[in-house]
Symmetry: C2
Subunit: 476 residues, 2 copies
């Protein structure tokens, strides 16, 4: 897991933060936030907030007090305790892409299948660069939608031992997620083993499904990732400051509801606002406007003491794993790390504004993550690394290949990328003159061929399988 040796990046001044703080307070108090969910509005009314139809007009100080109840640090548990993810404790964990209906695999773009999902989860499980198994890494469109989440959850819980995300397509799916996580980690017992994205229906509205999902997760002490469903210029103001104020108003209203359901429930503030391409109306998932916002939002999250999940890992609008996909991924990953995000979603495999889970892109992104982890690591400065004896020994115009100082360190002194080539042109041609995308295909094929599923207690696996089978019968 990445631990940045750099200080967090502060982009906003104190007066900027004060102005944004005043703006979200005005929004929640004077305009209010809608919850299209009578169970949610009833709870908020009971907690003393003014409810007018679907609209809740908040006491901003009360909202701030609810936000302050969300724990600044907690643990996201995995089936394998060695995979537990610390949140709010200075590390950055990387999670794969999420929610794509399609795959791009060896040049073929098509609907995702359960086999694609299982293969992606196998690659994710084996990748040291990724800390989270994922959620809907890709939609298994060959599985009936009523039972799809059961197969998804079974894949995540059994075929990976890393922490995973809940399914939130219905209240029942949330309960199924909680039950499977409970079996997988041997009893939740108040621990958090699930996170899940809950998106607002911006501007300033939470729909029934999402407010049910956050309340359902909260009842079990599982962590909603509270994030805007807005594109700047479409469902939010065209300006980042205004979009950010609206985002915080939406998020803080939801966090308040979550804290009413279960005081102290862990949450992640989802940060990052995509833009609207003003020529096409398309979503700008990638690029500098989004990246800059992620960094500023990270600073705001630190101000409010909230852990974050950053949008803006390997985001790109490219259709293929080309130079654009590469540089946008590096931009997004670095921005998320500069924001000191606790969890970076979509860090690997994202293509075509999220419509496509790309096998080759996943391998490219793993190289990006590994490289950033080294770049943001510490620099050791001490007598050993200053190497004055070696410099004396080599003298003027010599070389360091043969000195003991080099020989003792050369094996692991530098980053060795899995994908990036350092071959000269002759060797590169001899190896087939392959682009990074072509080498990435070779790599995922090799990895899948060599894949071995992680160990699992057969009793746990059987219990999950039995639960899935019984629920499939109910659902069918």
């Amino acid at each position: 897991m990445l631990v940045s040796a750099r200080p967090p990046v502060d982009l906003l001044s104190d007066s900027d933060i004060a102005a944004i703080d005043a703006a979200w307070r005005t929004i929640v108090a004077e305009i209010g936030v809608q919850f299209e969910n009578p169970r949610a509005t009833a709870l908020l009314a009971e907690a003393g907030q003014r409810v007018d139809g679907d609209t809740v007009l908040f006491d901003a100080d009360w909202v701030a007090a609810q936000v302050a109840q969300a724990p600044p640090a907690w643990t996201w548990h995995g089936r394998n305790p060695e995979r537990d993810i610390p949140v709010g404790q200075g590390t950055t964990a990387f999670a794969p892409t999420y929610g794509s209906p399609f795959v791009l695999r060896a040049g073929e773009r098509r609907n995702g299948t359960l086999q694609d999902l299982r293969d992606l989860v196998a690659l994710i499980q084996d990748a040291d660069e990724l800390d989270v198994a994922g959620g809907v890494v890709v939609e298994a469109q060959d599985i009936d939608v009523d039972v799809r989440h059961l197969h998804l959850l079974r894949t995540l819980a059994v075929e990976s031992d890393k922490p995973f995300m809940a399914a939130v397509n219905s209240p029942v799916a949330v309960e199924d997620s909680v039950r499977i996580a409970d079996i997988a980690i041997g009893g939740l017992d108040g621990r958090c083993a699930l996170t899940a994205i809950v998106n607002s229906n911006s501007p300033l509205r939470w729909d029934e499904r999402m407010s049910d999902a956050m309340m359902g997760l909260a009842r079990h002490g599982q962590a909603p990732i509270v994030m805007p469903g807005a594109l700047l210029g479409a469902m939010a103001p065209v300006t980042l400051a205004g979009g950010t104020a609206q985002m915080l108003a939406e998020a803080f209203a939801a966090i308040s509801l979550i804290q009413v359901v279960r005081p102290g429930c862990p949450v992640l503030l989802g940060v990052g606002l995509p833009i609207t391409d003003m020529q096409s109306g398309a979503a700008g998932f990638g690029g500098p406007d989004l990246a800059r916002g992620v960094v500023a939002h990270g600073q705001l999250a630190r101000h409010y003491g909230l852990p974050t999940r950053a949008l803006g890992g390997g985001l790109t609008t490219s259709q293929v794993a080309d130079a654009q996909a590469g540089f946008e991924a590096m931009q997004g990953i670095k921005a998320a790390v500069d924001a000191r995000a606790d969890v970076v979603m979509h860090a690997a495999g994202w293509l075509d504004a999220g419509l496509v889970a790309g096998f080759e892109k996943l391998i490219v992104d793993l190289d990006v993550i590994a490289s950033v982890c080294v770049e943001y690591g510490p620099i050791a400065v001490d007598a050993d690394t200053l190497a004055l004896d070696a410099i004396r020994e080599v003298g003027h115009g010599g070389h360091f290949f043969g000195v003991e100082h080099t020989l003792a360190r050369y094996r692991d002194c530098f980053h060795r990328p899995a994908l990036a080539s350092t071959m000269n042109v002759e060797r590169w041609r001899a190896a087939g003159a392959k682009t990074a995308e072509q080498r990435a295909e070779d790599l995922w094929r090799e990895r899948l061929a060599a894949h071995e599923p992680p160990p699992i207690d057969p009793a746990v696996r059987d219990e999950i399988d039995a639960f899935v089978a019984s629920r499939e019968q109910t659902a069918a």
Copy 2:
């Protein structure tokens, strides 16, 4: 020109800096730095330093005093005064790739020619992302080596109006550079219109040609870029701290010589140490070890009050403009900006560890630079951008497309990349399903077809042409 809204990145602690400071002092005083140049050693002996053959054993405090004489801020003048580059004044200027013998152009890799050089300089001249015309952007291998620098300088001085770099292949080439710059800017008159890379022959040695070049530039008040010629693990210790101490010893010895020749002469500290690929012995021009060093070196340069030129712009070891080339370019550009480099060399067009000037890669890198300039820009937070009236107007669940706040801003509110695609898959397929590399080829072809040379006073052009013609006769 980029002005970062972010604070500079401090990676090293005060005690790290003190330890590195003590180490370079030990090296210059106890091991010494060689100058294979009797004119250089004579000057240093005259200035009171102990000379033993080629080796100069320095008084470290005297070296520090020389370094302190190098001006912290100055101007690099261009033929067009609007193109002048502030140095040491908080901006980051971008310069193209340098020194490649080969080009990769529309898929063909071959020796560079004068026409390639002229085409590259035309693309660089027209690119708002680049502030420097360059130096040896590519070797014009079809031109006799004795007169090649004259054609290079003529191309840079006449076919661009941006500041350019001197040729340093011989003392005569330095004088020719100074004469052409003098004509181009209408009389140097003590102003700096040239920079030039002078590389040490690491470890701890400056060869005759390079020490002549720095002295020649200094006599005219032109700015040497003093940089190590080392790869970590080969011509420097395998550890970054030791390589950095050696780098500073070499650089500060050279800066001392330059200040002896002309007190107050501008210099740029060249920062960034490539690694040695320990499997192949190849130079690791790109990747996280280099990028991390650039950031740390930027902090050291701030400590010593020296302006910097960063290695690590668009560096890559990739052979083509693929995903690897894209993410390594973004990594390097961001590292250089995080280092607060005054000038970023190799920011555009670099491929194959610098052996190749890539036309498509140049276009990719321009997109990277433009994107980083936006990402590192400021965020406006005020009543206008907080947009509370627009948020009130739109209310819950509406959209912002039609509101005045959006209409007044939508044209230029977001970054619009030249290369990166935001097309959906249908439009992308209809446009030929082109990768970023293929679109980059389309773009440079369009730009060359539309290129118009920058205006030049005919008298200036004629004087440069006459000088080049007369010198060609002398040289032939």
